[in-house]
Symmetry: C2
Subunit: 203 residues, 2 copies
């Protein structure tokens, strides 16, 4: 579906470069924008340019923010634990649980040979340096990576690299999601939930 209009084709091509947006969806977005007030297109365009120009990454935890003055410099965080995550949205997800108050470390991805991503493409060496240079202030590294083969590989790689360093390495629990029925839970998850069972005490 090609338009005679170069302007429309260009906008469709730009939108189609985004993930999960195919040509048909891109065309629908472009036609919607064409029908709306000018401000919609202008706001989107200017927020994108400002985004790319303005967003800074913390040199310590690699979290994105508006300035280099990252929230990881805050004094209210527990300095003894550091939570390792794949990407910046995971930081928000874990903060929102209200069950974590320590530092974060954003790897910027996980080891994935099939996508050509090795350990050197991630912020792993800066994590190791951060842990070692803390002078045993950091007591625990919590690995909070996806429950996939790539996630597990990355956790294993980092845990191996931290062998000999005086720090506890833990991983977030894999198990039956809250609200799920056992019969609909897959075998591997159910198996791990039995292996990783926790003591239950009535108080």
């Amino acid at each position: 579906m090609e338009f005679d209009s170069k302007l429309i084709n260009d906008a469709v091509a730009s939108f189609s470069k985004l993930p999960s947006i195919g040509k048909k969806t891109a065309l629908r977005l472009v036609l919607h924008i064409l029908k709306q007030e000018n401000s919609l297109a202008e706001d989107l365009a200017s927020s994108l340019v400002k985004l790319k120009e303005g967003v800074k990454y913390c040199t310590t935890c690699h979290m994105a923010g508006d300035s280099e003055d990252c929230f990881c410099k805050s004094s209210y965080l527990d300095p003894s634990i550091i939570c390792v995550v794949e990407d910046i949205q995971d930081v928000i997800a874990i903060k929102n649980t209200g069950h974590y108050s320590g530092f974060f470390h954003v790897l910027g991805g996980i080891i994935s040979p099939i996508n050509g991503i090795g350990p050197d493409d991630l912020k792993i060496s800066s994590l190791l340096r951060r842990v070692k240079e803390s002078g045993s202030e950091i007591k625990e590294v919590i690995m909070a990576l996806p429950a996939t083969m790539e996630g597990d590989t990355t956790t294993f790689y980092i845990a191996k690299k931290l062998q000999g360093v005086d720090v506890k390495v833990s991983s977030i629990a894999r198990g039956v999601p809250v609200g799920s029925e056992l019969e609909y839970t897959d075998e591997i998850t159910l198996g791990r939930s039995i292996m990783n069972r926790v003591n239950y005490s009535v108080q």
Copy 2:
């Protein structure tokens, strides 16, 4: 899921204004853009601004294009038929079939009282003027609107307005889509395909 970063939140808010893009999808798009080269964001931003500034609508057929010199001015089109469609993407869809070589008229929507769209919000009066002023050069008006209640209402409204004008009004056929099994076709479509049966001749 709110970020500390105003820049990210602004970009997410802008994307979420587009149809079928919720907050989670918007965030995924923004994080994708953040990870890519600057050019992706710049290309998208500039194509959007150029789109809104540059696209012109033909004052005759209301098709969008890069200049006011619309393809409806071409001499190779059959001037005796005019195809009435809801939106500009329908023009491309019908052109691509290769079965139509006449003029188009883009209504810019269909009559939809539930969405507050009445006949005066559409390019209906300019269609009537166009047909009447052609001096019976236009012999047939083909209504190619969606097979919905709104589409049928709009077709009926325009056909009614063209009563007394020396022009044939037709509508694209409703029937069983090519490649479909009868047993999976809904009753209304099947009923209309029987009512609108066509003569079959072996040659």
